[in-house]
C-alpha cells in the first residue's frame, strides 16, 4: 500500500500541472512563480538543515574503523580504513562520496536448512546506485545548456558524449537510460527484498516514483511528445528565470509544465526528506573524523564547565555541618569564641 500511495501522489501532482497549465494565465504560475518558490525553499531549507545538524555536538570520537589503528611503530596501520590525519580522512571521504565505498561492502545473508546461515557479497545495490547517481549528476549538469547563454564548450561536449550513440531523433541520452534503469532497480529492490520491504516507508517510495516520473516526462518531451516543445521558447524562459527577467511563451506544451512542476516538487521536498543525504554524507561523523583517540583526547563539547573540587576544599566548605553530624574530619575546626 505504501508504494501505491506514492504512485497516487505523483499522479495527482501530474494532473495538477497538466490541468493547471491549460488554464489561461496559469502558465506564469507554473512557469515562473512555482520555480522561484521551489529554488528558495530548496536553498533555504538546505542551509537550515545543515546548520541545524552543525549545532549538534559530537560527544565522542565515533569514527568507525575497518582496519588496524595507528599504534606502535612496528604495527602497520591501515591508513585508509583507520585514518589518523586530515589527508587520510579526505581520501576516505572522497572514496565514500565518489564511489559509494560502504555500499560496496554490502553483504546478503541467507538461511538454509540445517539451519545454516551464509553471507555473500552483494554488489547490485552499489552498481545500480552508482549508475543512478552519476546519471542524475550528468543530467543536472547537461540541463545547464538551457540556463546558460552562451553555452560553455564543456557542456556542449558533455551533451555530445552523452548522446554519442545517436539512437533516434533527437539522439537518446545514455544517462536517461541509466537514470531510469537505476531507479527501476532501486524501486523493485524495495518490493522484492523482504527485509528491505519490511523497512520501507512511504517516504522511501515517494522520491523514487517522483524521480522516475521526472525522468519519464523528460524522455517523453524530448523523444515522443514534441508538440509544443520549442526548445528556444523553453530556453528563453529558463535563461529568463536565471536573469530575473522571465518571459513566458504561451504555446509551450503541457508536458513541459508537468516535467517542470515535478522538478519543483522535488526541490521543495528535498530539504525535508531523506534526499538530504546529499549533505549528510559529508557530515557523517563515523566517516569524517580522524581515528586519533590514542593521540588526542576528544572532549565532549557539551560538557558543562565543572571546576575541580578537592576533598580538602569540600571539607573546608562543609566542616561545621560534618562536625555537627558527627562525621570525622581531617582537620579539626578552629575553636569558636563561645568556649572562651
Amino acid at each position: 500500500m505504501k508504494y501505491a500511495y506514492s504512485f497516487l501522489a505523483v499522479i495527482a501532482l501530474i494532473l495538477i500541472a497538466w490541468l493547471g497549465s491549460q488554464i489561461p494565465g496559469m502558465q506564469y504560475f507554473f512557469g515562473v512563480a512555482v520555480p522561484y518558490l521551489a529554488i528558495m525553499v530548496f536553498l533555504g531549507g538546505f542551509v537550515y538543515r545543515v546548520v541545524y545538524w552543525a549545532k549538534s555536538p559530537v560527544p565522542f570520537s565515533i569514527q568507525t574503523s575497518c582496519g588496524q589503528a595507528k599504534s606502535l611503530d612496528f604495527i602497520k596501520p591501515n591508513r585508509l580504513e583507520c585514518p589518523t590525519t586530515n589527508a587520510e580522512v579526505v581520501a576516505r571521504m572522497a572514496l565514500e562520496v565518489l564511489t559509494f565505498r560502504s555500499l560496496f561492502r554490502n553483504t546478503k545473508s541467507e538461511i538454509y536448512d540445517g539451519p545454516k546461515i551464509t553471507y555473500e557479497s552483494s554488489k547490485w545495490l552499489w552498481l545500480f546506485g552508482l549508475m543512478f547517481h552519476y546519471s542524475f549528476l550528468i543530467i543536472v549538469i547537461r540541463h545547464l545548456r538551457l540556463f546558460l547563454n552562451p553555452v560553455p564548450e564543456a557542456i556542449a561536449w558533455l551533451d555530445w558524449a552523452d548522446s554519442m550513440f545517436e539512437i533516434g531523433t533527437p539522439a537518446m541520452y545514455m544517462t536517461d537510460a541509466g537514470l531510469l534503469i537505476g531507479l527501476l532497480f532501486l524501486f523493485t529492490r524495495r518490493l522484492f527484498n523482504r527485509q528491505v520491504r519490511f523497512l520501507s516507508l512511504l517516504n522511501d517510495y515517494f522520491p523514487l516514483v517522483l524521480l522516475f516520473a521526472i525522468g519519464v516526462t523528460g524522455v517523453l518531451m524530448r523523444m515522443f511528445l514534441r508538440d509544443g516543445v520549442d526548445i528556444n521558447a523553453i530556453k528563453q524562459l529558463a535563461v529568463g528565470l536565471a536573469t530575473f527577467s522571465p518571459v513566458i511563451s504561451t504555446d509551450i506544451g503541457a508536458i513541459f509544465y508537468i516535467h517542470l512542476f515535478l522538478v519543483c516538487i522535488l526541490l521543495i521536498y528535498f530539504p525535508f526528506s531523506k534526499l538530504m543525504h546529499l549533505a549528510g554524507v559529508f557530515l557523517s561523523p563515523t566517516r569524517n573524523m580522524r581515528n586519533n583517540s590514542r593521540e588526542v583526547r576528544h572532549i565532549n563539547p557539551w560538557n558543562p564547565d565543572i571546576k575541580p573540587h578537592s576533598y580538602a576544599g569540600y571539607e573546608d566548605e562543609f566542616r561545621e555541618y560534618m562536625v555537627e553530624a558527627g562525621i570525622p574530619v581531617e582537620k579539626e575546626p578552629t575553636p569558636q569564641k563561645d568556649e572562651a
Binding site: 545543515v50 552543525a54 549545532k55 555536538p57 533527437p170 508538440d227 536573469t243 549533505a279
Partner: protein, 132 residues
C-alpha cells in the same frame, strides 16, 4: 554551531554552485535567436511553422530513412507545390543561408545536428564549385 569554518565554507560553495547560472549570465539574458526568413520571400513550407519548430528534426530523419535506406524518393506535395525529400533538395532551396537560419537557433540551444557531417552547406558547395 560546531566546526563553523568547514560548515560555512561548504554551504557557500553549495549555494554558489546551485546559483551558478545567475553569476554566469550576469543578469543579461543575451540576444534571442532570429532565424532569417527565406531571402527569396517564399511563404509556404512543407508544414506549419509550429510543427517545424517542434519536429523538423524528426521529419528530416524520416526523409533520410525513406531516401537512403528505403530508396523511396517519392516527392511530397503540400499546397500544390512539389518538394523533393532532402535537406539540400527542399529546405535549403528557400532557407538558403545555413549560418543565418539553421545555426541561429542551434547555437542558442547548443544543439549540434549531424546533418553537416555529410551535407555541404550552400557556402561550402559554392566554394567547391569555384575550385573545380
Amino acid at each position: 554551531m560546531y566546526n563553523k569554518t568547514m560548515i560555512i565554507t561548504g554551504l557557500v560553495i553549495f549555494v554558489l554552485m546551485v546559483t551558478f547560472p545567475v553569476w554566469y549570465n550576469g543578469l543579461d539574458a543575451g540576444p534571442l535567436p532570429k532565424p532569417e526568413l527565406p531571402p527569396g520571400g517564399e511563404k509556404e513550407c512543407v508544414a506549419s511553422a509550429a510543427f517545424m519548430r517542434d519536429k523538423h528534426m524528426q521529419l528530416l530523419n524520416e526523409w533520410r530513412d525513406d531516401v537512403l535506406r528505403n530508396s523511396d524518393r517519392v516527392t511530397v506535395t503540400v499546397g500544390g507545390k512539389e518538394y523533393r525529400k532532402g535537406l539540400q533538395l527542399a529546405c535549403m532551396e528557400c532557407h538558403s543561408n545555413k549560418e543565418k537560419f539553421c545555426d541561429s537557433c542551434h547555437d542558442y540551444a547548443a544543439v549540434t545536428p549531424t546533418c553537416w557531417d555529410c551535407h555541404l552547406t550552400p557556402t561550402e558547395a559554392a566554394s567547391k564549385k569555384e575550385a573545380h
